[in-house]
């Protein structure tokens, strides 16, 4: 469960203040498939940055499974992210010099998982995202959709409780988007992994079971389907 309490992120405090996230209280339960939507500049990305422990809020707290991650030190938050949160980036951000398999495996290497378990988990994930046949290809040899599927597999590698995805389909065509959403929905349903997306993409919003709308850093609506 992710809970934010009075979460605020203010840029340039005191001078030309920009309240990117303004006193947001929210709760995301395990197994949810949520879209955070809103116009550009509404604070979606900043909100997810704070939830993912990448950015420090100006005030307020973020609790993940009861632990206040805003109180964790620099090295502890890195470890926390590594073990508990998976990230999917808009521009995939795969390591170009590593193959699809190695990109997925890297998270587990960071976690110190043994080779046999790593190999099994990597094969399992490659099958889940339907890329087993392309496991030895480097990112430059994969399409955008395939790269994003590798990125999803990488995010799942550490068996995180949550996947945070910022505009994951922004660079994908319709077929790739549909394919990616199918995979993520299946993972959400079968493995009860919590997905939180920030998105503009109506195709993603349509598939979400909960839609949180932000405007000027505040939640203006929270709809469950």
């Amino acid at each position: 469960m992710i809970e934010t309490k009075n979460l605020s992120k203010i840029y340039n405090p005191g001078k030309f203040e920009v309240k990117a996230v303004n006193d947001v209280n929210s709760l995301f339960k395990e197994g949810e498939f949520t879209s955070v939507v809103g116009p550009s500049g509404s604070g979606k990305t900043t909100f997810l940055n704070c939830v993912g422990g990448l950015d420090n809020p100006t005030s307020g707290d973020v609790y993940i499974a009861g632990e206040n991650i805003t109180r964790l030190s620099g090295s502890d938050i890195i470890q926390y992210r590594l073990k508990n949160i998976g990230f999917v980036f808009q521009s995939y951000n795969l390591i170009p010099v590593l193959s699809a398999k190695e990109n997925i495996e890297m998270i587990m290497l960071l976690q110190g998982i043994d080779e046999k378990s790593r190999r099994l988990r990597t094969d399992e994930l490659l099958n889940q995202v339907d890329l087993y046949e392309m496991k030895d290809r480097r990112p430059s040899e994969l399409s955008g959709g395939q790269q994003q599927r590798v990125a999803v597999a990488r995010a799942l590698a550490s068996k995180p409780k949550f996947i945070l995805a910022d505009e994951p389909t922004a660079n994908l065509d319709t077929a790739s988007t549909s394919n990616l959403l199918d995979i993520m929905s299946k993972l959400n349903e079968n493995e009860k992994i919590t997905f939180i997306f920030s998105t503009h993409d109506q195709r993603v919003i349509d598939r979400a079971r909960r839609v949180v709308t932000l405007e000027d850093g505040k939640i203006v609506s929270d709809t469950k389907k």
Partner: protein, 408 residues
């Protein structure tokens, strides 16, 4: 993540921009090559100078009377010479030796007078110790039946306009400090490769001196040639007890400037090599900073997903070090082959002959690099690459993952 994986990623990262890495690697290779060739030339020159001095006049060991070195009066002869000769003759480490009468005096003709040192030698003994007989450029090396012939250096010959068969007078003080003059006829002109030596030394038969100084017998200088130059201190120490009136010196005791040059050379070369490598390190740092700038997003992503600062730091360090380490064997090997080639063939430096002669070396320079210099250069490159890696790695740590990834 284990260190092997980090190394693997770093290694692959080096080859992401092949052209850029190639340029840096080539610059390191040429830096190493330039540094080692500089070392080779310096050691070659110094070795040539040292060998020239040892072969031409120093030999490995010399024995004198202690007082002779201070006064140069001919009465100060080597003490206990028969016993010393007996010991030397029975010593397998000694290749040959000679006995010289040394006179310090003036050599004159109608064109002028110059201060010189006369070496009264037995030619058949002397050719086993020094190589002056090989350096004769005009005339002959004591083939005349006359006793009063003289070999003069090219520089002295030029100064006094001496030709073969020219007459010269040597004037010196005898045991009683009375002036004595001897007449000689030039039989040969030598060019040792050391113009200072050629301008201040002449050779005569020792018989020509003893015949004219009936009360004189004995010798002032005994140069000894050993099987190995490294044995000099060992043999020297064994010869010292034969007389407390004698002084036994190795070549580096006699010619302090040559000995110091050897020591100084190593220190100076390290400084030059370090300057070259520091210059190269700026190129490496610049390249790595560019690489980090290009990969800001990727490094931000690695930080986001949980790679800690220590591993990011190490990854960039490895990349930087790899650039140098790839260059190192190529730099060392290319240097080695070039040095080996020119250590046999040599380089003709006759265009700067006059300057080299003043320095005491010949016109063909043979490269020389002691083996340990390759190890030292390798260690220096490694240290410089580690130092070069620190700044880019620290810059990488300053990347803000939020800004770098733009999304998360």
């Amino acid at each position: 993540m284990n260190i092997i994986t980090l190394i693997k990623i770093s290694w692959r990262n080096v080859w992401r921009s092949k052209l850029r890495s190639f340029v840096v690697i080539m610059s390191v290779i040429f830096g190493i090559l330039g540094g080692i060739i500089m070392i080779a030339i310096s050691y070659g020159l110094n070795e040539e100078r040292m060998n020239n001095a040892v072969d031409t006049y120093l030999s490995h060991i010399q024995i004198h009377n202690k007082s002779f070195s201070e006064d140069y009066n001919i009465k100060f002869k080597i003490d206990n010479l028969p016993q010393i000769e007996k010991a030397i003759n029975n010593d397998d480490r000694v290749v040959s030796y000679s006995k010289r009468i040394i006179l310090n005096g003036m050599l004159s003709n109608s064109n002028g007078s110059y201060s010189i040192q006369v070496k009264g030698i037995n030619p058949s003994e002397e050719i086993k110790v020094t190589n002056t007989y090989e350096k004769i450029i005009e005339g002959e090396y004591f083939k005349s039946k006359r006793d009063n012939t003289i070999l003069v250096g090219k520089k002295l010959a030029d100064r006094l306009n001496l030709k073969i068969k020219s007459k010269v007078v040597i004037t010196f003080q005898d045991e009683n400090y009375d002036l004595t003059s001897l007449l000689y006829r030039v039989e040969g002109i030598f060019r040792s490769g050391n113009s200072r030596y050629d301008g201040a030394n002449v050779f005569v038969r020792n018989l020509s001196i003893t015949k004219n100084l009936p009360n004189f017998s004995g010798f002032h200088e005994m140069p000894i040639l050993l099987t190995d130059i490294e044995l000099r201190d060992e043999v020297k120490n064994e010869l010292i007890p034969y007389s407390s009136n004698n002084i036994v010196e190795a070549w580096d005791d006699i010619s302090k400037d040559l000995a110091y040059a050897n020591e100084m050379l190593a220190a100076v070369l390290y400084i030059f090599m370090m300057i070259i490598l520091i210059g190269l390190s700026f190129g490496i740092v610049n390249t790595m900073l560019m690489a980090i700038l290009e990969r800001k997003r990727e490094i931000g992503m690695l930080m986001s997903i949980g790679m800690n600062r220590y591993k990011i730091f190490l990854m960039i360090c490895f990349e930087t070090i790899f650039l140098s380490l790839v260059a190192l064997p190529f730099g060392l090997l290319s240097s080695y082959f070039i040095v080996e080639y020119y250590s046999v063939v040599g380089i003709d430096l006759s265009v700067v002959e006059a300057g080299l002669e003043n320095f005491g070396v010949g016109t063909r320079l043979y490269f020389k690099v002691p083996d340990e210099q390759y190890y030292i250069v390798a260690i220096m490159v490694f240290i410089i690459s580690i130092i070069s890696s620190i700044f880019p790695s620290l810059r990488a740590l300053k990347i803000n993952p939020v800004e770098a990834t733009k999304t998360f």
